[in-house]
Amino acid sequence: MADEAVFRQEFPVKGGDFAKAGVVACRIKDLLKELGLGTQVVRRAAIALYEAEMNVIMYAWEGRVRLVVSPGEVRITVDDNGPGIPDVDLAMTEGYSTATPEMRELGFGAGMGLPNIRKNADDFRIDSEVSRGTHLEITIHTNGHQP
């Protein structure tokens, strides 16, 4: 299985570590570019990833981004140990946000996070358990649609 054309990598994300905000998204973006995936695929992955990574940094204690790239699709799973989302449907509404004033001051919390991830993904799943954590699955087809 060693030379199967599937690239897997894991990235830890620490909650509250604003100094590293966007680092994982950036590294993955650079990698996807090197793999020769289309400009729009890379951009959508970058936007979705950035939002997901920021959610972990802003709300969770710790998290993990797993990247699986095969020639046909990019799959990103984000797991965190965090407070979880009590009402996922509400959180998926555009404009809804629980960001604190401090976060808003930093330019976050426009309430676009989760809907924006869904908009940029071809396939999006979210599971969340209060006081345990949140699990996201983002799939982007490499020949997928344009959002």
Binding site: D3, A5, V6, F7, Q9, G22, A25, C26, K29, L31, K33, E34, L35, G36, L37, T39, Q40, V42, R43, A46, I47, L49, Y50, E51, V69, S70, P71, G107, N116, T142
Partner: protein, 466 residues
């Protein structure tokens, strides 16, 4: 344009290059490799930012700008100096004197760029008014930023604000009026930019947004500096009088263009953010690519620190130059010299716009076949995991100054360093210059490493052949 696609203003002089990898480490687009002990630039990746030029301790990176001899081809020579030049000659030299000195140096006419800078600011604001989306727009003044976006952020090409920079607009205006005014064929008139960076040369020879540049060349401020200084010295007494009869009216809004934030200082109704320095520019463009900063109207990016005033081909210490230009900005205040109606007319005639939008330039992926690219990336990860990923530190901290020094007093005195200095001294002939044996080479790293890479040396056969 095609044959010039990979034109670069930055070159490596092989004779001077010792393969020290400073330039390679400084390169923001990973465009430099050291092969066979010499640095080489990968044309497709290079954006002519000049970071290697700054980093090279051996003066082995050279920039190509227009030579004075090339000006002889023109009957009438016009200079449009970057406003950076006003900060180059101390606080007692006023801009008018500098323009006069340039005339004495050999230009038939010299035009101040600050008014065109003001025109640009107004045109950019007009464009932002008319185009509410996308956000943020990014300015195109710095040719390196345009090339960086083409290669590293292709998705952002459509966010580059399609108004030509002042130097091109100034040249375009002069091209339109001078042939008639002078009764000369256009090709006899040479319009030359005086530039603080080599990248302008690239934007002239292979423009990203024009069919053909309106400029004929760019002379570096560094090259022309001695002549201007000389001319200024000779005319010191005249200068005193000239102060009292200013010939050119400088724009207060345009005067600060060469400083980071200067392009947008004259904005009235838009939110602009200025970024300078190549690393910071990349950091911010990464965020824009991730969909951030959409509440900002305009992002002014310049890859040189503090803006064009930090260009590698200017002469004055950039902090002094900046302080001098700020003085001039203060003195000129908010003085506007451009009539808004004139700007509006030119703008609506599309006189100020790009000929065509910025097109992405594809950087080759690890492999054209996605499956093989993935395999290569996996192999690379495995390889990287095996490497120590650190500098052994025996050679001390890598700074340009330390490598440059040849005196033994400046060498570190740690035992390792001392022993390998001694070893070098023993093997070095009298004519050789001090040449560190590579960092990360506490002990014989280079020779041993090389041998290992090439495999065992062939065994000598002393016995009879069978």
């Amino acid at each position: 344009m095609k044959e010039n696609e990979h034109y670069h203003a930055i070159h490596i002089t092989k004779d001077k290059c010792i393969g020290c990898v400073h330039c390679m480490n400084a390169c923001p687009t990973k465009a430099i490799r050291v092969k066979d002990g010499k640095a080489r630039i990968i044309d497709e990746r290079c954006i002519d930012c000049g970071e290697c030029l700054r980093a090279c301790p051996h003066d082995a990176v050279h920039s190509h700008t227009t030579s004075f001899a090339a000006l002889d081809a023109f009957e009438y020579k016009v200079a449009i100096p970057s406003t950076v030049i006003y900060g180059q000659f101390g606080s007692s030299t006023v801009p008018n004197e500098i323009l006069c000195a340039l005339r004495r140096v050999g230009f038939d006419e010299v035009y101040d760029l600050s008014s065109i800078c003001e025109l640009n600011t107004a045109a950019i604001e007009e464009y932002l008014n008319e185009h509410p989306q996308p956000r943020p727009f990014i300015t195109s003044t710095c040719p390196v930023v345009v090339r960086l976006i083409q290669r590293r952020y292709p998705a952002l090409c459509r966010q580059i604000l399609p108004i030509e920079p002042p130097r091109e607009i100034a040249a375009k205006i002069l091209r339109a009026i001078l042939p008639k005014a002078l009764n000369l064929p256009p090709e006899k008139i040479g319009i030359i930019h005086l530039t603080p960076c080599p990248a302008k040369m690239v934007s002239i020879n292979s423009p990203a947004t024009l069919e053909k540049s309106y400029l004929d060349g760019a002379i570096s401020i560094r090259d022309i500096y001695p002549q201007v200084l000389n001319s200024l010295r000779k005319s010191r007494d005249d200068a005193l009088m000239r102060h009292l009869f200013p010939e050119t009216l400088f724009s207060g809004i345009g005067m600060g263009w060469s400083l980071s934030g200067g392009e947008t200082r004259g904005f009235k109704n838009h939110r602009a953010v200025a970024v300078s320095g190549v690393q910071d520019t990349m950091r911010v463009l990464d965020q824009v690519e991730a969909g951030l900063l959409q509440d900002i109207d305009l992002l002014e990016c310049t890859v040189c620190p503090d803006g064009c005033v930090g260009g590698p081909l200017q002469v004055e210490n950039r902090f002094l130059a900046k302080s001098r230009i700020l003085q001039l900005v203060d003195a000129a205040g908010d003085r506007a010299v451009v009539d808004h109606k004139d700007m509006s007319r030119l703008y609506h005639k599309n006189f100020l716009s790009f000929d065509h939008p910025v097109a992405p330039v594809e950087t080759p992926p690890l492999d054209p076949d996605p499956a093989r690219a993935i395999l290569k990336a996996k192999r690379r990860e495995k390889l990287i995991a095996k490497l120590p990923r650190k500098d052994c530190g025996a050679a001390g901290r890598r700074t340009a100054g330390r490598w440059r020094t040849t005196s033994s007093a400046a060498w570190p005195v740690s035992p390792t360093a001392r022993s390998y200095k001694r070893r070098n001294d023993e093997t070095r002939g009298p004519g050789d210059t001090a040449r560190p044996q590579g960092f990360c080479g506490g002990r014989e790293a280079q020779p041993a490493g090389r041998r290992r890479l090439r495999g065992r040396p062939p065994q000598r056969r002393d016995g009879p052949r069978r």
